[in-house]
């Protein structure tokens, strides 16, 4: 049975580097790839009534943008590589959602680019990468 590797992409250079390492790995182990784009979102944030009424269409366009500008181009670039590639977009807290996706799709590993979060930001909100490493049930590779 072939394994699946989850790769977290966000349109950044770090994400691209993580993908290229993951591709090498997938070739060697004949694994398939799941490219995931998580849109930071919380069900507990506050909005004006107007924002609520437009939320549904905004969500659709967010998903479309993630697909069009990041996931689909990357996936089609790998079309000839012989690796099986799937894509998924989901809203939620980034680390939490990646773990969720990894469990749902039964992936054997997670690849993520170093996010380049500022020290200040990490101190206040906690680092996404650190949270992922600590909560994931499968090995996580952080690509610098």
């Amino acid at each position: 049975m072939s394994d699946t590797i989850l790769v977290a992409l966000d349109g950044s250079e770090g994400g691209k580097r993580a993908l290229s390492v993951a591709v090498d790995h997938a070739r060697l182990t004949e694994s398939s790839l799941l490219l995931a784009y998580v849109i930071d979102w919380s069900p507990y944030s506050f909005h004006t009534p107007e924002e609520l009424s437009e939320r549904h269409s905004r969500r659709e366009s967010e998903i479309q943008r993630a697909n069009d500008s990041v996931l689909h181009p990357e996936a089609s670039a790998l079309a000839d590589s012989g690796i099986q590639v799937d894509t998924v977009v989901r809203h939620g807290k980034i680390a939490e959602t990646l773990v969720e996706l990894s469990e749902e799709h039964n992936t054997s590993q997670i690849y993520i680019g170093k996010l380049g979060e500022s020290r200040m930001r990490s101190m206040i909100f906690g680092s996404v990468t650190a949270a992922l490493v600590q909560t994931s049930s499968v090995p996580v590779t952080v690509v610098p």
């Binding site: 849109i39 979102w41 069900p43 507990y44 944030s45 506050f46 909005h47 004006t48 009534p49 107007e50 924002e51 609520l52 009424s53 437009e54 939320r55 549904h56 269409s57 969500r59 659709e60 967010e62 998903i63 989901r90 809203h91 939620g92 959602t97 969720e100």
Partner: protein
């Protein structure tokens, strides 16, 4: 966020340079300054002009029948009867559904695939910041002043019964919402009245009711969600500034109107977004300090409770006795939690769910938070002050009275309270500007030009609210609120069987495990 705001403002001013707006603004500024010196009496003039109109509207809507020596406004009876009926008809859903409501709001039943859509919590939070307004701070003081301590008891009872009304209207709001081609949704009483009645084979009547409601909410948005809010915000500002703003209500009004204008017309959404984020914390801050004040005076609490219960059933010193206290309690409760007005169902209808009942259940929490929690602790703070020092507030009314009650323990409290009042007022005004707009677009369509006409009218009333005195404002606002209740509750009676059927089916499926928890 701050950066983008500053950028926006910069862009705005560069635009100003290009046009001649700048000159106009300068002239306007000069005019304001000269007016300040010459006519501090502007307030009085507007006041005496509006008072008779308020009285007339009040007399028509508040048609009163004398019952046992009290004057019972028919519309209050109409609202209470509705709330009692829905409580019994839905088998005390306000008690039965409470636990489920919390678990829905926590997201226990949220499908992971619908992440990114409006959650139950978000719809609830938005609706709550629309209802938690000056009514919770000032309205309670009004109730206690006019209806005695006993009014508090009836206020709580009304909050409890109002939960059932809210349940019915918010369920219907989701069930009959309108989804437009571009994906945005509009819901609320005008839609459920029209579609619901037409489902029951009364198409013509449904159309009439929908339009009736739309007119009602448009006009009503100028009272409860507008003039009353800006009025009380001004009063508290004037209060903490030691009367420095006396006679300058029109100036404060203009500034407030300008800020509201910049958000709803200018589209500076960041201001609204920031407010939406601060309001819940302000509400927590307010409750926290209220509880501290109550704890500091814990010795007087038994006496306060005795006063409340006694007053509720004897109505000592209240015009109309116990019934008088009851009427006032109910009236102020509705004014605060908006159950029966239908406004909140506009905000709730944006939620993403296949089960309209779930949003109805979540909306139960709204009168609970607004009336049973926040209004009650305000009443207790005022109560302890009254027991310790009768007549502590002098002639202060509304927000000023609540402020005086807090001031007895924390001399600095009126300042943050003024800030909180201003924010509450502001967020309520933003929410209501949207509710009124939905009534407007229901009648006149979605044209941008038309919407702007409405928004300018709305801003004008914000300014007007700071000028008119509390008495006439309350009369007008009350009258307008009840004008909206008439078509809404009539519709709720007709559509309640539909809600009941869905409710029974939903809870049966929760019980059988067909509707499953994700968490």
């Amino acid at each position: 966020m701050l950066k983008s705001l500053i950028n926006r403002i910069k862009q705005y001013f560069t635009k100003l340079k290009e046009t001649k707006m700048r000159q106009i603004l300068v002239t306007l500024g000069l005019m304001i300054v000269s007016l300040t010196n010459a006519h501090a009496g502007i307030d009085d003039a507007i006041n005496s002009a509006t008072a008779p109109i308020a009285e007339l509207i009040g007399r028509i809507v508040f048609f009163k029948i004398p019952v046992f020596g009290a004057q019972l406004p028919v519309v209050v009876l109409w609202l209470v009867a509705g709330a009692v009926f829905f409580t019994f008809y839905m088998g005390f859903i306000n008690l039965r559904g409470f636990k489920h409501a919390i678990s829905l709001a926590k997201g226990d039943y949220a499908d992971p695939n619908s992440k990114g859509e409006v959650s139950h919590f978000q719809a609830l939070a938005t609706a709550v910041s629309g209802t938690v307004g000056i009514g919770n701070i000032g309205g309670v003081a009004v109730a206690v002043t006019v209806g005695g301590p006993g009014a508090t008891f009836w206020l709580i009872v009304a909050g409890f019964l109002g939960m059932s009304t809210k349940f019915v209207e918010c369920t219907l709001g989701v069930k009959y919402r309108q989804e437009f081609k571009d994906g945005h949704v509009s819901g609320g009483p005008m839609y459920y009245l029209r579609k619901g009645f037409s489902d029951r084979g009364m198409e013509g009547f449904g159309k009439f009711m929908g339009t009736f409601y739309a007119i009602g909410i448009f006009i009503g948005a100028l009272g409860i969600g507008n003039m009353f809010q800006s009025n009380q915000a001004y009063v508290q500002l004037n209060n903490v500034s030691g009367g420095a703003l006396d006679g300058l209500g029109w100036l404060v009004g203009l500034v407030l109107a300008a800020v509201v204008f910049s958000v709803i017309v200018g589209g500076i959404k960041s201001i609204a977004r920031v407010t939406e984020k601060i309001v819940p914390f302000m509400a927590l801050f307010y409750c926290l300090f209220a509880i501290i004040v109550i704890l500091m005076n814990v010795g007087t609490i038994p006496q306060v409770i005795i006063n409340i219960i006694n007053g509720a059933f004897t109505g000592e010193g209240v015009a109309g006795g116990a019934l008088g206290a009851m009427i006032i309690g109910f009236q102020r409760a509705v004014f605060s939690n908006e159950a029966g007005i239908g406004s909140a169902s506009i905000a709730h209808s944006a939620v993403k769910t296949d089960e309209p009942i779930t949003e109805g259940v979540v909306s139960l929490l709204e009168p609970f938070i607004d009336t049973i929690v926040i209004c009650t602790i305000t009443a207790l703070v005022i109560g302890t002050a009254q027991v310790a020092e009768p007549g502590f507030a002098g002639s202060a009314q509304g927000v000023a009275m609540t402020s005086a009650a807090f001031e007895r323990e924390f001399s600095w409290f009126p300042i943050p309270l003024a800030f909180a009042a201003l924010l509450f007022a502001f967020s309520t005004m933003i929410s209501w500007s949207y509710y009124g707009l939905k009534g407007w677009t229901y009648m006149f369509g979605e044209s941008v030009k038309g919407q702007n006409v409405y928004k300018i009218i709305f801003c004008a009333f914000v300014a007007l609210g700071c000028v008119v005195q509390l008495g006439p404002i309350l009369d007008i606002s009350d009258a307008l609120v009840f004008l909206i209740c008439v078509p809404n509750i009539l519709g709720l009676y007709f559509l309640a069987p539909i809600v009941k059927r869905e409710m029974n089916s939903y809870f049966a499926r929760v019980q059988s495990g067909e509707i499953k928890k994700y968490k």
